[in-house]
Symmetry: C5
Subunit: 354 residues, 5 copies
C-alpha cells in the first residue's frame, strides 16, 4: 500500500519552492548518463558531477541527460539554475506522487508520467515516476531508479544513423514516452493472465484467498487507472499543436500514442468490469455451497428424525403396550421405517434435490 | 478470452513504424481478390502477387482490392510503398486489437472496424478486424480471414449496372460498412434469443451453469460495446462533411448507418440491463430455495424433536415411575403426541409455511 | 419480449433502399383515411387506393392522410414517388424498430415516435411506431394498427371551426404529437398504481411472483425510457426554430410538449429508483424470514436436545446406576428438565428472540 | 404516494389550452389577498371577486395578489384575460405536477417552484406547488393551500419602510423565493434528525420497521431532489441577466439564493449516500444475527448429539453387552461424556465462538 | 454528526442581510491579531477593539487582520462598514455551513474554504470554515477558532525579508491557502493509515465494530469530498486570470495549488473505492463464516443422527427381536456404526469439507 500518499505532509507549512524529496528513496547512489548526438556523432558518458553536463547546453547537437535517483536536492537546484527552470518544476520532480501532467514554459516543457511494471514474483503492480524536461536541443529525464525501458531507446539511437538522429529532441521525447506506454500493454497482459487463472479457481474451488486476490487485482487496476487516465489529457495537449516545441511531423506519432492510451484505458475498464463480475460469481457460488450443505443436513434430518422417533416409541417402558407381545411387531416397524424413507426419497427426487 | 490484449507487448521497445503482426493468425494462405469496375465494365480476378494490382492504381475505373489474411508484412510494405501510405497505417493494419477509428490523410482515409459474428455452436460472439483504405478511385479492404459478408456486396456490384456502378468509391465503402453493421443486428437477435432461453431456465430451474452463461453473455455484451461504441464517433466524423473524399450524396446514407449504430448501442445497453436484472433474480431465487430447504428442516425438527423427547422420558429405567404401571399410559402418550403435532401444524399454517 | 429486435437481420446484406417490412404485422388490411380541410371546408373519406390521395397534393387546403398498417411496400413506394420522398424514409417507415428521430428535408420533415399503451389485462406495456411526414400543406401519418388516440384530434378538427382550422399543417402535427405524449401520462399512472399494489404485497407477503412482477415493471420502464429519451432531442430540434416548416406561433406549443417529455422522463427515472428500492426490500425481507425460521429451529433444538439427553442417560441399561433405585429420581429429573427449559427461555428473552 | 402523477391523464386527448385542474384539491374556498404598496403607502385587502384587482393593474405602485387555492378555472381565465397571459401559463398553473421552471414572456415572467414541508406527526415530507407571475409593477402568487411562509414576507413589507418598499417587484419576487428556499433547510434539519434516530436504532436494534423507515426517507429525498434539482437551472437563468425584468441590483441577491440551492442539493445527495450506507449496515447486521443464531444451534447440537449417541448405545437391549455388568460403567460413561463436552468447548474457544 | 446543517432554519423568514451566526460557537472570546508589513517593516499586535485596525486601511503597507471567533455580529458589521463590504458577505462569514466559493467584487474578493483536521484521539475528521477577504493592500482572515496552521505563515513572514514581503497581498493569500491545502494531505495520510489498520482487522477478525469504523471513514470521505470538490472550481477561477487582484506572477503558484487539489480529490475517490471494496470483503467473510458454522453442524448431524438411529432401534422393547439373543450383535452393531462413520468421512473428504 505504498501508493497511498505518505510523508507528503512533511512539507505542510513550508513555503512554496522549498526542495524536499517526498516518497521512498529507491536507489542509493545517483547515476547520471549523458548522451550527445547529431546526425553524424554519438557520444555516451557516465557522469559524476552534474556540472559536467552544462557545457553541452548551448550545443547544436541534441543532449540527453538521464538521471537515476532524484533524492539529491543540491544537484537538482544546480541543474535548475543552469537551465533556468522554474522552482516549482524542481519541487514537482522531487515529489513522486504527482499526477501525470504537462506544463509549457515556452522555452521548455515539463512532462510527468508513470512507469508501470508487473512484479511476477510478488504478483504486484509497481509504479515509478518519470519527469521529462524537453528543450529545443536537450532532453532531461529523471526517475527514481534505473529502468530497462530506456535501453531500447538508447540502442536504437546508437545503431540507426538515418532517421531518428536527424529528427529533433521532440522525436526523442516521443520515443521515450512510446516505450513507456508500450510497457503498459505488457503489464495488462500479465494482469489478463492472472485474471484468467483466478477466474478458473473461482469456478472450480472458490476460497477467501481467491477473493482477496481478485480484490487486490481490482485495486491495482484502480491505481493504474489513476495513473493512466490523466495521461489522456497530457498526450492530447501535446498533439493539439499548441506547444511550439513539438514539430508537426512529430505530432502524427504522438496521435499514435494517444490511440494506445485510449486502448489501455479501455482495457483497464474492461478488466474492472470483469473483476466485479468475478466477485459476483464468487459470492453466488459461496451461497450455492451453503445451499448444498443445508440440503444435505435437511435430507439426513428429514429421513432419520421421524424413524428415530418410531424407534424411541417402542423404547418406552410402559407395562401395557400391546405391540410388545405381538409376533410381527419388529418386522412391521422395519417396514414402516422403510416406507418413510422411500416416501422421503421420492419427495426429494421430485424437488430435484439429487 | 482471446480478446484480452495478447502478444501486444512483443512490440514493446521497438521503434515506431516496425511492421509486426499482433494477434492470432486466423488463415494460412493470404488470398487477394481484385475487382475493377466502371459504369460498363466489371472485372474480377484472383491474384497471387500484390504487384499485379498496381497497374490499376491510376486507372479511372474503381478498383477494389480485397485481402484475406494480414500476417504477410512484406506484401503490406509493398502495398504501402506503391500507394504511398503512412507507415503508421501499415502498423495499424497488422495490429488486430485496434479500436474502431478513422484517420483522414486528405488523399485517402483509413477506417478500422470490427466484424462481429455469433457462433451458434460455441454460443460465443467472435470479433474480426477490418481495415478499409479509401482513395479517390480505389478501395482496399483487409481482414484476418475470409468472410461471407462481402459476397452480397460483390454480387450487387456484379448484377446491378445502373446506380451503384455509377457511384464513386465512397459509395462502395458505404456498402461495405452497411453490410458489416447490418450483421450486428443478426448477432443481437441471436443473443436476444439466448437471453430468453436463459431467463426461462433461471425462473424454472436455476443452476450455477445458468449463472455462468448469463455472465458470459454479459461479458460478450461488454466486448461488443467496446467494439461498437467508438464506431459512433467514426461514422459521425464521416458524415459531418469534413472529409473531402466522402461526397455529399453519400453522406445521407452514412447518416442512415449512424442511426443503426445508435440502435445497436441502445440494444446492447438494454441487454446489459436485462442481464444484470437476471443475475439479481438468480441470486434471489437461490436464497428463496435456501429458505424453502430450511423451512422443511425446521418443520420436521419442530414436530419430531418434542415428541421424541416425550418418548425418551418413558424410556428411562427408574424403578419408581408411576406412569409405567397405569393402564392407559400408552394411548395417553400417543394422544399427547398427536396434540403436539396438531398444534405445530396449526402454528405453521398461521405462519403460512405451507 | 417482442421488443427485442427481430427479423431485422433479414435485411442484412441487401442494398440500402430495398423496401422490406421489419417487425410484426399487426393488422390484416390496410386502411387509409383522407381528411381535407380549410377554414371553411372539412371532407373526410375512406380510401381504397392510395392514388386517390394524390389529387389533393397541390391543393391549398390542408390534407391529412392517415394510414393504418404499413406492410404494403407497393403502396408505400407509390406514395413516395408521388410526393418525392427520399427512399431512406420509406425504408424507415417499414422498420418498426426505429428510435424516435426527426429528419429535415427542407420541403418536408420526417418524424418517428412511439405510441405507448398499457394493457390492463396482460399488465403489459405495448409499443407502436408512428411515422409522421409533414409538408407545407399536407401531413401523412402511418402506424402499425388503428389507434383510438387520433379520434380526439379528428373530432376537434371536425367541430372547432375557428382556431385549429386556420392554423397550418404544423399545428396539426403538434396536435397529433401532443395527444400521443399525453397518453404517456396515462400509462405512467397505471404503472404507478401497479407499483403501489406490488409494494404492499412485498411488505405483507413477499413471494417470488411479486419479485417477478417487480422485475417486469422495471423492464417495462427500461423500454419506455428507451422510447422516450430520444424524443427529448427530437422535440427540442423542432422547437429550436431551425426547421422552416414549423412556424414561430407553433413553437411555443412545442415547448409545452418538451416540458411534458421532461416530466415523463423524470417520472420514469423515479419509478426505476422506486422499483430498485422495492427489490432491496424484497431481498431483505426474504433474509428476515430465513432469520425467523432459523430462530424457531434454534429455540426448539436448544430446549429439547439437552433434556432429551438427560432422558436418554436414564434409558441406559447398566446394572449399576444408583439413581435407578432412588425413590425421587423421577420427579428430580423432571425438575432438572424444567430448570433447563426455564433457563433457556430466560436466555432467549434476553436476546430478544421473542 | 400522492406525488405520483395522477389524474394527469384526464386531460389526454383534449386540445391544448383547455383549463382543467390536475391534482388534489387541497382547499375548499379560494382566498384572494391584495397588497398594494409604494414607498409611502401600504394597503392590504381580502378580496372576494378577482375583478376587484384589475383596477390596480396599471397603477404605479406595486401590486401583490396572493391566491390560495387554484381549482377555480373561471377566476383564472378572467385573470389571464385581464393581464394578457398566454393560455399555456394558465394551464401550467392548474397542473400541480409541474417541474420547477421559468418562462420569459418579456412583459412578464412565469416561475414555478415547490414549497416543501416536513409533517412531524406523519414523519412525511409534503410538496406544494407555487406559481409566481412577475410583471413590471405587479406580482401574482398562486398556491394550492394557505401557507405560513408568506406571513414573514408580508410583515417585513408592512413594517420596514425604507429599503424593501423602494425596491421593485423583482425584489419582492426574490423575497418570496428566498423564504421558500430557506424553508428547505428546515426540512433538511428535520430529516437529518430523523436519520440520526434511525441510525441509532439500526445499530442497537434493527427491525424491518427501521428498514421501512429508511426506505421512506430515501424516497422522500428522491422526490425532494426531483423538486430542487431543476431549480438550479431556474435560478441560474434569473441570475444570468438575460431577463430584463430582473434588475442588476437584485441579481446579486439571486446569486445568493443560487448558493443556497447548491447547498440544499449537496445535502440531499449526502443524505442519500448516508441512507444507502445505513441500508448496507442493516443488511449486514441482519446476516450477523443469523450467524449468531446458527452458531448457538451448532454449539448445542455439536455438544449434545455425540453424548446423546453414547447414552443411546447403552440403551440397547442386547443380551450380550459386557459393559452392562461392569461395576464402573456408569461413571466411566459420564467421564467420557464430560471429556467430549470439554473438548468441544475448547474447540469453540479456539474458533473464537464465545 | 455536527456537519449536518443545523440551526440554519433559525434564519428562515428573516430578510436577507440580517446578521445571524449559524453554527456551533467554538470559542468564547474573539481574538484579533493585526500584522502590518512592508519590505522593511514588520509589526504584530493583539487588538481588543476592531476599530483600531481601521487606521491601517489606506496604508501602503500590507495589513493582515486575523480574527479567531466569528459570533460577534457587532464587530463584523463595524468591519463591513469601514471597508465597505457587501452585506451578503457578512452574512456568509457568519454562516459556517458555506460551500467553498469565491466572489469577485472588483475592489476585493471573498474566498470561503474549509480547514480539515484529523483528531487522532476521536478518530474523527473535523471541519472549520475560513473566510478570506483580499483587498489591494489588506487581507482579512476569519475562522471559528484559533488554528496552528497560520503560525508557519506568520513565521515565514517574520523571518524572510526578501521575497515574500516584497510580493503583494495576493501572494499572502496564496500562502494561506497553500498551507490550508497542504494540511489536507496530512489528514489523508492519517486516514490512509487507519484504512490499512481496519483492512487487516477485516481479514483476520471481522466484527460489526470494524464494519462501523469502515462506514464512519466512508462518511468522513463523503464529507471531505463535499468540502474539497467545489474548491477545484474556486482555485481554477483564481488562476484563470479573470480576477484583477491576482497578479500574473502569483497565478503560476495558484496553478500549483490546483494540482494539489486534483491530487486530494483523486486520493479521496481512491479511498472511497477502497472502503467500498472493504465492505464487500467484510460481507463475504461474514457469509464465509456462516458457511463454516453450518458445515460443522452438518458434519456432526450427518455422522451421529444415523448411528443414533441404529442404537435406538435396539433400544425397542419388543419381545421378538431375534438380534437380542445373538451372541455377536453388539460388536456387529459397533462395526456397522464405524462403517457409517467412515463412509461419511470419506464423503466429506471428497466434497473437500476438511
Amino acid at each position: 500500500m505504498v501508493r497511498i500518499s505518505k510523508k507528503r505532509s512533511s512539507k505542510a507549512g513550508m513555503p512554496a519552492g522549498s526542495l524536499i524529496h517526498i516518497g521512498e528513496r529507491k536507489v542509493d547512489k545517483i547515476k547520471i548518463k549523458l548522451i550527445n548526438y547529431g546526425e553524424h556523432d554519438y557520444i555516451e558518458q557516465d557522469i559524476e558531477n552534474i556540472a559536467q553536463c552544462f557545457e553541452f547546453k548551448d550545443d547544436k547537437t541534441i543532449t540527453w541527460i538521464n538521471i537515476d535517483g532524484i533524492h539529491d536536492t543540491d544537484m537538482l537546484s544546480k541543474l535548475g539554475d543552469c537551465f533556468g527552470f522554474h522552482p516549482l518544476i524542481l519541487e514537482d520532480i522531487l515529489n513522486t506522487e504527482q499526477r501525470p501532467k504537462v506544463e509549457d514554459f515556452t522555452d521548455y516543457i515539463y512532462v510527468v508520467l508513470k512507469i508501470i511494471d508487473y512484479e511476477k514474483n510478488l504478483k504486484e503492480v509497481t509504479f515509478d515516476q518519470v519527469s521529462i524536461i524537453l528543450g529545443k536541443n536537450y532532453l532531461i529525464s529523471l526517475h527514481e531508479r534505473p529502468l530497462d525501458i530506456y535501453e531500447t531507446v538508447k540502442n536504437t539511437l546508437k545503431k540507426d544513423r538515418s532517421k531518428i538522429r536527424k529528427a529533433g529532441s521532440d522525436y526523442l521525447a516521443y520515443l521515450l514516452m512510446d516505450s513507456i506506454i508500450d510497457n503498459y500493454f505488457s503489464v495488462l497482459e500479465n494482469v489478463g493472465e492472472r485474471i484468467e487463472n483466478i477466474e478458473n479457481k473461482i469456478i472450480t474451488n472458490p476460497s477467501p484467498k481467491t477473493l482477496k486476490a481478485t480484490h487486490n487485482l481490482k485495486r491495482d487496476m484502480l491505481f493504474m487507472r489513476k495513473s493512466v487516465w490523466p495521461l489522456r489529457e497530457v498526450i492530447s495537449k501535446l498533439e493539439r499543436g499548441e506547444i511550439s516545441l513539438i514539430k508537426n511531423s512529430t505530432r502524427i506519432y504522438i496521435r499514435d500514442i494517444y490511440d494506445h492510451i485510449i486502448q489501455v484505458i479501455d482495457t483497464i475498464e474492461t478488466y474492472r468490469d470483469m473483476l466485479s463480475g468475478m466477485i459476483d460469481i464468487y459470492l453466488s457460488s459461496i451461497s450455492n455451497r451453503l445451499n448444498e450443505v443445508v440440503k444435505i443436513l435437511t435430507i439426513i434430518s428429514t429421513i432419520f428424525i421421524p424413524i428415530t422417533f418410531i424407534a424411541s416409541i417402542y423404547g418406552m417402558n410402559f407395562k401395557f403396550i400391546p405391540e410388545f407381545s405381538w409376533k410381527w411387531s419388529y418386522p412391521v416397524v422395519w417396514f414402516i421405517m422403510l416406507a418413510v424413507i422411500i416416501t422421503m426419497v421420492i419427495y426429494f427426487k421430485r424437488k430435484k434435490w439429487f
